[in-house]
Assembly symmetry: C2
Homo-oligomer: 203 residues x 2
């Protein structure tokens, strides 16, 4: 069967840009506080813009207790040609591959935390419970992303509560100003704000 | 930089099971009616269960006008160790890779239709507008999936309207009974219903 598997249907590979590995190699890969974790994620978002590898969004999965970095993520939608590759999705996919399971909340595993430089869009919000992370930390707010033209999708106003109902704690506004700064830098550079041309409703 | 890119961070590869290519090679790859498209997707879901390659969900992206198959998808969560690999996400990712763009709604492209054997969970719902498809066709209902123990995530009750607000037409209940039959077959075989152990809220 192996020889037939690709008849007309390509494989899809998610690959972090080279600069991510280089950045992390310079750091100690342990980020004890939530602010340190967010600062790392904001750094990813900024370098993603400056290196031209994607949109102004960064994320990372950490061991919640120790702060050890498990997986970084950056928005790779345009460069990878894949609308799924938002920063949070990339971090989740790389984290699960690193651990070797679809469920980061598995019983033999430490608790994991997802840190995202902007509050999740509807897709990333929906993906969060399935990932198995036990907490979500956000920087910029929905409205900050919308202010520069990004579309967050159709989210319930009580989205944070919907995660907490599932045992996922949510912390917001962590280094919000720094995260917003990268959104603004991207907009000022004239970065592509994709797919937001469609649909009048940005609720 | 290339040599540094994987320092500690693995690549993630999405690969359709071999039997998908074999199945499609036997068919003419054009499905003029919505029912034919759904019948193909239900066939994928059934074979995914019987071949032991994943959960009871199938999806596919078609050229809307001609019915030409662009990309099939099946649930590959457990086997691939990736919670993102729901059938709809797989079909979208393979379709975008086949076309070479993150936006299936691009101006030089035909309209594309996403056919899914069960109404989308919160993640796949959120992913649909970003994909660029212009229509969504569903078989089994949310409540059918919940009836066998699957968790659809926290969705707005007016989720179909939220897509239509963005110019994506939604058709529901297409071959619902056949699609439900595969959900039930999976449950009767004792298939793994993952992640639904967490969170009391299955709304």
């Amino acid at each position: 069967m192996e020889s037939r598997q690709n008849i007309g249907f390509p494989e899809v590979t998610l690959r972090l840009p080279g600069w991510v590995g280089a950045l992390v190699a310079e750091e100690n890969r342990t980020y004890p506080t939530v602010k340190e974790r967010m600062r790392f994620a904001v750094g990813l978002s900024r370098l993603n813009v400056r290196n031209g590898t994607g949109g102004p969004f960064g994320a990372a999965v950490f061991e919640r207790e120790t702060g050890r970095l498990l997986a970084p993520g950056v928005n790779l939608v345009v460069g990878s040609g894949c609308s799924v590759f938002h920063a949070e999705m990339v971090a989740i996919m790389v984290a699960q591959r690193a651990v070797g399971t679809f469920d980061l909340g598995g019983e033999s595993l430490p608790d994991y935390e997802l840190v995202a430089t902007t509050e999740p869009c509807a897709m990333c919000l929906g993906a969060t419970p399935w990932s198995g992370v036990r907490s979500l930390v956000c920087g910029a707010r929905d409205e900050d992303a919308r202010a520069v033209g990004f579309d967050e999708g159709a989210k319930m106003s009580e989205w944070a509560g919907s995660l907490e109902d599932r045992g996922i704690s949510v912390e917001r506004n962590v280094l919000r100003e720094e995260a917003v700064g990268v959104l603004q830098e991207y907009a000022e550079r004239g970065g592509e704000i994709y797919n937001s041309r469609r649909g009048g409703d940005r609720s």
